[in-house]
């Protein structure tokens, strides 16, 4: 369970670092975000929701069934688009509307 940060896409805004409940994300010398110890990630996705630059990817470790899939979050007002890509498969987008309650 962890996240991967695309350092090319990161603009160093620091928002992900600010919210991580485990203080796991740090800044390199250029101010760009990196995850110090990937195995300490809880998988809460707080950092993904903060990143307006699509620089953070969420994945499952191979030990819990990860097979190369990646998940990203794009927020647009009350809508949250969760985009899942898998090797050799078309991407899947699931959109959740904050204004509607869970059906379950």
């Amino acid at each position: 369970m962890s996240i991967r940060i695309d350092r090319e896409a990161c603009v160093g805004c620091g928002l992900c670092r600010e919210v991580c409940p485990g203080n796991l994300i740090r800044a390199d010398a250029q101010g760009r975000a990196y995850l110090k110890r990937p195995e300490e990630c809880w998988g809460c996705a707080s950092c993904l929701k903060e990143c307006a630059h699509g620089a953070i990817y969420y994945y499952l470790g191979a030990d819990i069934g990860g097979r190369g899939g990646l998940m990203q979050v794009r927020s647009a007002g009350d809508l949250t688009h969760w985009v899942i890509t898998r090797p050799g498969e078309p991407p899947v987008t699931i959109t959740v509307d904050r204004r509607s309650a869970n059906k379950y």
Partner: protein, 562 residues
Amino acid sequence: MMKQQYLTCDLLIIGGGTAGCYAAITAARRSPELQILIAEKANIKRSGCLAAGVNALNAYITEGQTVQDYLEFVRWDAEGIIRDDLVRTMAERFNEATADLEQMGLVIQKDERGRYVSRGKQNIKINGENIKPILAAQVRRYGNVRVLNHLNMTQLLLDAGRVVGAAGFSVLEEQAYAISARAVLIATGGAAGLYRPNNPGFSRHKMWYPPFNTGAGYAMGIRAGAEMTSFEMRFVAQRCKDTIAPTGTIALGAGAREVNALGEVFEQRYGLSTSGRAYGASNEAREGRGPCYLRTEGISAQQEEDLLKAYLNMAPAQTLKWIESGSLPSRQNVEVEGTEPYIVGGHTASGFWVDTRRRTTVPGLYAAGDVSGGAPKKFVTGALAEGAIAAEAVLDDLGEQSDGSQADFRALAQPVLEEYQSRLAAKSGEAFDVFALEEAMQKVMDEYAGGIRTGYRYNANQLSLARSQIASLAALAETLRAEDMDELVHIYELTDRLTVCQTLIAHLLERRETRWPGFAIHTDYPAPRAEEERYVNSRLVDGQIRVFRRELVKEGAYEHTD
């Protein structure tokens, strides 16, 4: 050199999670002059249990139900070991706290007549993805609440037996803090990471309870001589395999029954209590009928879509897993497993022994939320309720109390701040680092104190081994040195977990019965015993854990008298 900063406030809240944020809101509303300070290890926007979001409000008095019904339900579920006064006083506030959350902006599902839509007898449906940002935004509206994020607290400061403040350090920079306060509320949540987890390798932190809630509050209280209750009532959760995501949404929401590998529904053999359910699944597997599943095969396309979305709002790993594996829940039942044991007073009765108003046994110290004992099944609304109850008690108590002298505070704090400095030192060829000792602790607890490995079973011999091995790890932990602040945090986290383990083992040894077989099986005493229908409590006296019994509190309010 680590910089030192001294701060002063009226009310110091340690831990800005669910209970801590709501305590601050309650106190600030009632007393705009009160100087309130929240010391939070991460950032209150997404810290603690609510980080990923929650799926429902699990504790609500729905139409036709009463506070007494909730009390009876909790008593039944916990096999009698609860504090009636604590459960009643929190349940009385569930609905008020819920209405308040809705005012703050939480989305709650309503029917055409504007009533909340319930999910079973005690739950209501919400969109809880942003519940923590909502609470945090509310906190920021009060000018008299100051929030210090990224501040890890480690030690209560006592003067003549009274708590007068606490010390901690920044997790990011070399800066130590000593904060003097007229009252301190502990709201640091429960303890995860004591036992070897379900996924001990790369995904070691893919656990149910936040791995960053390390039992700091329990440990601070234990060291300060506070009385603790019911640590032996550990919590083992039934969760989705691998992702350790909650299962209630599938079971209650989509109506999925639990089945063994033969497809048999087995719940009637074990009972429907939380412990009974956990025992059922683990025993079915033990007897060769595992693994167990939630039977989702055949759910409708709409139900499936709703499930995928619901999990994104609280446990996104599960949705990714469904999509990535191609094993969608309509096509494949969802495998479940039991977690490693946690100490969490929001689900069971473990935690600080408090009076009805959430005062601990140490003057000046209050406790609310998962860190506080005696009141299982708190969930979100119970944590809010306890935060409010404790805040009101603080306001009443401070009214009666005169300002203490500040002169001696620095003298009290200085040794603690110096210890931080002395630990932050270059390494000199030590054989172990903090991660090696953490792994060792988890292994000992797993094997000798009833972890996953033994199916939550232990006997007195094993517990004695656990006790001596944890003590030797605690001694080793004292020699650890940190290269940076991040490592310093890990060292104090390990120390706190070891402190919690020691109290936990003492409690497990004392309860000579098996009352909650899903949570713990004492193989020397494999059945419940009537004479054990009492609390197991403990207190650290002169460095020794003293364990003792108290009779059940049934009626009225409870005050500390001894």
